[in-house]
Amino acid sequence: MYLRAGIDSLPRMSLDSISLARSAVPGFAIAVAVLIAGLLLALTVGRYPVSLGDLLSVLYAKAAGHRADVAPAVESVIWQVRGPRVLAAMLVGTALAVAGTAFQGLFRNPLVSPDILGASSGAALGAVVGIYLSLSVFAIQAVAFLGGLVAVGVVYVIGASVRSRDPILVLVLTGVVVGSLFGAGVGLVKYLADPYNQLPAMTFWLLGSLSATGVSDLLPLFGPVAAGAAVLVALRWRMNVMSLPEEEARALGVATGPLRIAIVAAATLVTSASVATAGIIGWVGLVVPHLARSLVGPDFARLLPAAAILGGGYLLLIDTLARTMAQVEIPLGILTAVIGTPFFIWLLASVQKNWS
């Protein structure tokens, strides 16, 4: 322990103050504020407006266990109509943000999104095949979920069997190639589909929406998202080290191969579950991790929870916009792209000074 010679002369007080110096409290406060604003807006705004007072008395009555002193329609709008959709939007936003955070760290690239390894294109192929075969809604979701897992599995097996000095690059390139093959499959199924009945359903699904979400969707969404996120949170310190170059991470004692499989599996589980419920919603998994990183810094111990909270709030706001902006619902994927594209361009312009 000769390297520690003199270590006891270091004052303990100063060490404690160091770890508190860069507090993440303001960053988390902003994330929570966004989530609360999203919740209040999503529950009150819409075709049947609910006043803030009515919302609070309904929530209070539920907590206290008695009936609220409001019109029954208000309660029904909050609990039956908007409630499940609000929870689903939060879960999907959280899922995409957490998966994006994990993939950006794993691929050491801040411009990566959760569908980098083909989870979305695999789920898309599963869903359109399900619609083409006129399966039940639940079965379509199940096939989409499996499609996402299978696509990433295929990408991983191919990527791992190619011998290369840069396994990360091979994995990303394989993801792009396999993703475009699945995309061709989606095109083929759309081409073969009944243009009056099936094709609109496929298009709607591929653009992403929560309009058909009900209570029964919540458990199949919550289970995989919670399981995947729990694995990622448990590995948070190792994920910091995994964002170093491969050889450095190994020299620091991290078995990068098995750990990469665990992180990819957890993030894919989370992504596939959200895509199966809500269809393809791009950009959230790219944009939110950046916003979260600017709020609380790059340490995954803070970044993962911050991204989870912010992602939930972000998609709640977008979904509220989607159902209130126009007479017809606007697909989520279109709104997130309209917001995400300028953000991405700004990111490219400023990435030099921020990340290097």
Binding site: I18, P110, R236, W237
Partner: protein, 253 residues
Amino acid sequence: MILEGDKLTIGYPDRVVGAGLDVQLAKGEVLALLGPNGGGKTTLLKTLLGLLTPKAGEVRLDGAALSSRSIRERARLIAYVPQTHVATFAFSVEAVVLMGRTAHGDLFARPTSDDRRVAAHMLDRLGIAELAQRPYTMISGGERQLVLLARALAQEPQFIVLDEPTANLDFGNQGKVMREIRALAASGLGVLFTTHDPNHALRAADRAYLLRGGERIAEGPVGEILTRERLEALYGAPVQMITDGSGTAFVPG
């Protein structure tokens, strides 16, 4: 405890870089690896670290095959200081040094208060304690090199392997790293470093290992091995030797 390579054939899956290489590094000793670009220095170094598998021969630590130890055990025995690079994410300097503690905790562990004390101690030892809360992306190249050295020290290893530790440093910081290498050996570590500057080997190393085209040209105490003739043969270029009362220096001719 000795880190040794026995008749190593080194290289990558698709090509062989060098063959028949024997290396020994004892604790408390500094070995400098010299040679022209592409001569196999970095490949040999990564093989000794266990980052590359030798194509033939064996790397042994304390008499047992390095490959018989887990990746975590290895990280507690041998630390690696890579050439500085641009980091993707703006971790604080303290967080970067704390990453050196990873092998001391289990799969789900977070840095403990003891880990924080070790990290702070190593930053202090290298005179960069005031950088602790700065983003690693916002400090100078020389400071980054010292931070990576602090991270390696935080591993509390028995051996430390540095890849061109002076490559990105200004004149003053080069001297600082050379002094630190001597101090590490004095406190009992075995140190291996690669360098393009024979003067650094002369100054900081006990022994020099000359590698050209994947072959060992010469090995031995720096005072005997580093001669004008050998260096001219090693680099295939004229070299001048300057000697005065205070010592010897080599200058490319």
